[in-house]
């Protein structure tokens, strides 16, 4: 499909595509899928940490956690709005999420077992998210790029808060230290999987990556981002006093990077297929909230319609 010189020229010049610009349908569909998945991840991502709001161990932590989960809802809103500029509305995207037709990040199918998980999610999961998302601030599609700028700013704040939770735990009681280490043990490998399958694998060869790179949607390969992440996190772990659960992790002078052990991609594919600890729970939770709220949304629409009719009447 060819849509004329403007699109290609803009892409070639690394300029932004805006909603009114002509664009190839594949580009549009790729973006819808990616932005929707990203928005869904924010909304589903409210659950694992939301699980700790009522049990946060201090009022200060409770307040920070509520604000963080609220930010995630806000990120979801920005992103659904960005997707809507591509001609699809939020209700339709939510239906696709609820019906399992669109995905969200598999990381949210892991359970949050202790308070320290709120720290580990902030530090590792938000850390990995930022690594993935910063390049998207220069994404070729304008509304997406601008949404990502706001998101990234808040995410780095969240990442610092997660670090701070773990920092306090590691300087706390023995039980608190064990809790922090345990959380890092459980979240480290799933965080590495957040960058997606290796560039050398079957999945990457499907062509999505190459096309997304050509379109200026994707800027770095999965493995490159993963390596950057590892290189960033190892010194932070040392600072925290947390031992990352990888005996193969060590500095490679020659490469100028940290080497790390093999990732269990079987687990990745299993969770992606729906057989993770929380897949069923996350979607059931979302569907229940959505269904419980149906009468409220209907009422709001009915009221708006009535009000519009009244205004029209009084204007006539």
């Amino acid at each position: 499909e060819h849509v004329g010189g403007d699109f290609d020229a803009l892409i070639a010049a690394d300029q932004r595509i805006e909603p009114r610009d002509a664009m190839p349908d594949d580009y549009r569909q790729t973006l819808i899928r990616q932005i929707a998945q990203h928005a869904h991840s924010e909304i589903i991502g409210m659950q694992p940490e939301g699980n700790w709001i009522t049990r946060a161990p201090s009022l200060r932590r409770k307040a920070i956690l509520i604000a963080k989960v609220q930010d995630e809802a806000g990120h979801g809103l920005y992103l659904y709005s960005a997707a809507e500029t591509l001609g699809i509305d939020r209700a339709e995207l939510l239906d696709r999420l609820h019906d399992g037709k669109q995905k969200y990040s598999s990381i949210f199918n892991y359970p949050t077992l202790t308070w320290a998980d709120c720290g580990a999610i902030g530090w590792l999961v938000d850390g990995a998210a930022i690594m993935n998302q910063v390049p998207l601030c220069r994404c070729s599609y304008g509304p997406y790029a601008r949404a990502m700028i706001r998101v990234c700013k808040e995410e780095s704040f969240h990442q610092r808060q997660g670090f701070e939770i773990l920092w306090n735990l590691m300087r706390g009681t023995e039980a608190q230290q064990a809790m922090a280490q345990d959380a890092a043990d459980r979240w480290w490998w799933p965080a590495l999987m957040m960058f997606g399958p290796p560039d050398t694998g079957e999945a990457a060869k499907g062509g999505h990556t190459a096309q997304s790179m050509a379109w200026g949607i994707k800027r770095f390969s999965n493995d490159d981002l993963r390596q950057k992440f590892v290189d960033m996190m190892v010194p932070q772990a040392e600072k925290l006093g947390i031992v990352l659960p990888d005996p193969d992790l060590k500095w490679n002078e020659e490469r100028g990077h940290y080497d790390f052990g093999p990732i269990d991609w079987d687990e990745f594919w299993r969770v992606l297929r729906g057989d993770g600890a929380c897949n069923a729970e996350r979607i059931a939770h979302r569907r229940r909230a959505h269904e419980d709220g149906a009468w409220v949304r209907e009422a709001a629409n009915a009221y708006a319609t009535k009000q519009a009719a009244k205004q029209k009447e009084s204007a006539a």
Partner: protein
Amino acid sequence: MTEVAAQASPAAYVLGLADDAMVYAQRLAEWMSNAPQIEEDMALGNIALDLLGQARALYPHVGTLDGTGRSEDDFAMVRDERDWRNVHLVEQERGDFGQEMARLLWFATYQRELYAALLASSDPVLAGVAGKALKEVRYHLDHAALWVVRLGDGTEESHTRMQAALDSVLPYLPELFFDDEASVAAAESGIGVLPSSLHEAVTTHVAAVCQEATLDLHAPTWRARGGRAGIHSKPMGYLLAEMQHIARSHPGATW
């Protein structure tokens, strides 16, 4: 136990205000990821944050007033049920969205009148908290009123549900306007305000919203009692169990 609650002290009065805000913040925060739309996850989270902020501003002041020097977490995380002074309204389990809006409409209207009166408190800390909170609760009130009107005057189903929701909170309202010992003493000393003095303004406002919402305000067949004396309803113990479990599991830890 109940050493504060039993006294007609300024501390007991302020603790009642703080506990109302704290417990309602806890209930409202339960909505996050459970609301009818994402905007409401955010709005209810926002209101929860405001109320939590009020509680956090008031608790250390209670610790000063009663001379115990207790921190916000001493009050929230390691205090037994019998020592909580909040009204039953705020401790009731999360119901449907209509019930929440009914509860919020009454509570925010009550808080608006309360904080407006407390601007003149002889206690500068309390007056300061009131000044900040007043701006917040106006938004809470507008938000609740908007939804009560939409739901009351929305669909047939929403009208029925919203009317039932309004009815369900009625038994819990008299407690908001009950002049317990601590309130009477606080009002006399100029620190606080007599709860009964807020009744008319609150009811008038809520009635106006209900009228716009095509809803009726009925009289309750029974009324809750005892929150200000630490006598709570069934959900309170479970709320505290959840809220305090981790903190109680790690005595003396900081977070």
